[in-house]
Amino acid sequence: MSDMAAKPNLSPGVQTQGGIGTAGVPATEHGDHLHHDDHEHHDQHWLWKYVFSQDHKVIAKQFLISGMIWAILGGTLSSLFRLQLGWPEGSMEWLAPFLGKWIVAGKLNPEFYLALVTMHGTIMVFFVLTAGLSGTFSNFLIPLQVGARDMASGFMNMLSYWFFFLSSIIMFASLFIETGPAAAGWTIYPPLSALPQAIPGSGAGMTLWLVSMAFFIVSQLLGGVNYVTTVINMRTRGMSMSKLPLTIWAFFLTAILGILSFPVLFSAALLLIFDRSFGTSFFLSDIYIAGQALSNQGGSPVLFQHLFWFLGHPEVYIVIMPAMGMVSEVLATNARKPIFGYRAMIGSLIGISLLSFVVWAHHMFVTGMNPFLGSVFMFLTLIIAVPSGVKVFNWLATLWRGNIRFTAAMLFSIGFVSLFISGGLTGIILGNATLDIQMHNTYFVVAHFHLVMGSSAFFGLFAGVYHWFPKMFGRMMDEKLGYIHFWLTFAGVYLVFMPMHYVGIAGFPRRYYAWTGFDAFSQFADLNRFISIAAILAFFAQFVFIFNFFYSIFRGRRATQNPWNSTTLEWTTPVNPGHGNWPGEIPAVYRWPYDYSKPGSDVDFIPQNVPYSKTQSSNFPYEQDAVE
């Protein structure tokens, strides 16, 4: 075991195979694919190891780095449209070398502006915060924290990444085509998204968008099925569901949400493809456009919205729940306290998951939907505040009387809670159908969701990267740079999104290329410029993180086995775990994951794999029973 632990990062498959052999677990499937690795592709080993790898840890890193590339791109797009919003009269000629024909006489083309916001939304929601966040950490942490050698199906897991990769390539390519990328908003409401006559982006750009999303959904389903199967079937000895770390509960429920809701988006995309290419009328009716009356009749654009938001709303929880799980873990570890109300935390996650399926139409209060439905969805939507509130109070109670170490991950977790509160509370306004009449599609909505699911999920992502970086790369990220990154980002996010609420309350519509034509909105020129400056600075602050990340992979301080003194199973693996995770036997689990600062114990943390018989001094009476 010790000689395994000393192996450098990504030790060759032969050794990991040895590790699996000695472990003697009935994981025939893993044995099989490892044989596959070793014997058939010995010559091109690196290719099967780093590129077409079936190791969940490598796949996680692939998701992470892809997500980071997408995030830079998505952030760049937002900087571009913030330039337009901040300086509507300014010249953009200097961008012409980059944007080419989309700069017309020093001005951003308004249709390209819509393409920018559309692609920013698509990239951030799906490619960064779904694939990059959940893909990375579900993959990385599920096997490590439940005590499994790998995912239930390593091959499907690999496919999941490569379908995502294919989807990414297609989406990326769509940025460069003649008519521009999709430009109907990330919600791609037809008829705008169905008719190339309505906006050029609805031509080839939209086709590529739909094809890309179809592959993306395949990727999500392959991943999700794997996560659920792994959590249910491959937990190590003693790891009952009530001993799972909250991260795993979050990933588990997230995967279930994804499996149940992504197919509905697929159906919406498929019907839209039919409408666009095969002359059907699912979403089209009574349309006269470009001097021509279309033959489509009887379709309903509102039907599309129902289908879209049936995914779209669970989607925001798919984005935020993994972040909630990781934040719970990081807060408990660094406050040196058990997470407060472990069962309530699981209960609220389950409650949020269930409710997330019955609130979708709160995005549609004023779309012409029957007002009676509006009242039902208002009721269901506002109930979500209760489990969300429970989570916030439990996080606060976890900090209370803790002994807090401010690692970069801890800072981002605290930042997450703060942003989640700020953004979540305005949901109470938007979920109220009456108030939504005024707030719908204004910057108030933009501010709300950027705080509660955009920035919060990003903060969860950062917390996760800073916290599990040592396990991923065997090195530490630089802490000081982490602090700088946190404070710049935290201040930046608030400076960007708080003023957006003001603009929104006044009724400033979103997706407006310029507001200067309206008296009611033109008073916000200063505030818009302020937001733009803050947004662009906050975006550039992210390069501190990018630098820190790549620098630390190669030159960071070497990590120890358990740098944060954490209790969960991933820290019982060697510093650089090979394929199979544990060189010897998989540790068995005896206790819940949050035995921090337990009274009577010498150390302030007791890992999950320490039996009660070894901690006689700190056992509670009922735990003492478990020993005997």
Binding site: P110, L114, A184, L192, A198, I199, Y288, G298, G299, F340, G341, Y342, T367, G368, N370, P371, S375, A385, V386, V390, A397, L399, W400, R401, G402, N403, I404, R405, F406, I414, S418, I421, I428, I429, A433, T434, L435, I437, Q438, H440, N441, T442, D478, F490, Y494, M498, P499, V503, I505, A506, P509, R511, Y512, Y513, F518, A520, Q523, F524, F547, Y594
Partner: protein, 358 residues
């Protein structure tokens, strides 16, 4: 060239940054502080938490007050005042929750920072307190839901019988406006009849449409319920009038509606704001294409008698465009000879059932 310069500058900055970073690491290695130092940076971060709470809170309070008047556009409808009250009451409720939770979050972070030798308090759950903070938000939510539901039902309920009716049709990228004329009935429109002259798609075989008139500007009387019927002829649009707290999508193939009662004429509002150029604005608030941001209409609220005069002075669409009527007569003649029952066509193109049917 500019692009190259920008890239070069960025590259140089990056190199300088990298060098500084290396330098910092080397000095810290030489000065022997490379092991994780919980003391110094930990308390700095803890203090920054407090600083962020105080200064962040102060900045937020200041900027909120500073912008308060700007974020409250004047309200000019009956339900608008009700909504406004509900909005600020809800804001107050969430403001209290916001202040308490944020203050606790940052205060706890500062107060319970790492101290050598102190041990965190093992506190895994407490049913009583958990029940309390589940039940209290649930009660508050119930109250908000109830208030919201009552107002929503009233606002989206059927328009009073004596409402003034205006129909708006969204198209890329402007709004078409139609009034029912003297008979107070809107005639049938059919998107297949649309052309450059007949932008609305009047089907003049329907007698009710003969006296309908179209205008460029929307006029409504003060103090009288106004029912806006909304259509779209191409993609989704949304009728959004922030001063009246009115918003409803325009959906092709599915007429929608919204009613409200204006409380202030345009002139009164101009006088009140001291802005002689003030106009009630109607913005499209659902992405509809390149010029979405410029899809604007203005609405004039008149005194009822002014409105009556304006209304009486309008000329109907069929009078203004006799050629449309003539073409229709020509067409129906040929139709009569071919098909025995022209009425069947008219029936088929009767307006689709309203989404918001009561």
């Amino acid at each position: 060239m500019t692009a190259l310069t920008i890239l070069l500058v960025l590259l140089l900055l990056l190199v300088v940054f990298g060098l500084l970073f290396r330098l910092q690491i080397f000095t810290s290695i030489f000065s022997g502080t490379f092991t994780r130092d919980i003391g110094m940076s930990n308390s700095v971060n803890a203090i920054l938490m407090l600083v962020f709470l105080v200064f962040g809170g102060a900045w937020f309070a200041y900027s909120f007050v500073e912008n308060f008047s700007k974020m409250n556009p004047p309200i000019a409808s009956v339900h608008g005042h009700e909504m406004e009250r509900m909005f600020w009451i809800t804001m107050a409720v969430i403001g209290v929750a916001f202040a308490i939770t944020q203050a606790l979050l940052f205060w706890y972070s500062y107060r319970y920072q790492y101290k050598e030798g102190r041990r965190a308090y093992f506190f895994s759950h407490n049913n009583k307190i958990e029940v309390i903070w589940t039940v209290i938000p649930a009660i508050v939510m119930a109250a908000l839901i109830f208030a919201g539901w009552k107002a929503w039902t009233r606002i989206t309920g059927p328009a009073p019988k004596d409402s003034v009716v205006v129909e708006l049709m969204g198209k890329q990228f402007n709004w078409l406006v139609r009034y029912p004329g003297r008979d107070m009935k809107l005639g049938v429109v059919n998107y297949r009849m649309i052309d450059a002259v007949n932008e609305f798609g009047f089907d003049l075989s329907d007698k009710a449409g003969l006296d309908d008139f179209t205008t460029n500007e929307i006029h409504v009387p003060k103090g009288v319920p106004v029912l806006i019927k909304i259509r779209s002829r191409d993609v989704l649009h949304a009728v959004y009038m922030p001063h009246f707290r009115v918003q409803m999508y325009a959906v092709p193939g599915m007429p929608t509606r919204f009613w409200f009662t204006p409380t202030m004429t345009t002139d009164e509002m101009r006088a009140k704001l001291g802005n002689p150029n003030f106009n009630y604005e109607l913005a499209c608030n659902q992405i509809c294409g390149g010029s979405h941001f410029a899809m604007k209409a203005s609405l004039v609220v008149d005194e009822p008698e002014d409105y009556q005069n304006w209304f009486a002075a309008q000329q109907s669409f069929s009078q203004k465009n006799p050629e449309v009527l003539a073409a229709l007569k020509q067409k129906s003649k040929t139709l009569v000879s071919e098909v025995t029952a022209p009425a069947a066509e008219a029936k088929e193109t009767a307006p689709a059932p309203l989404a918001a049917s009561y």
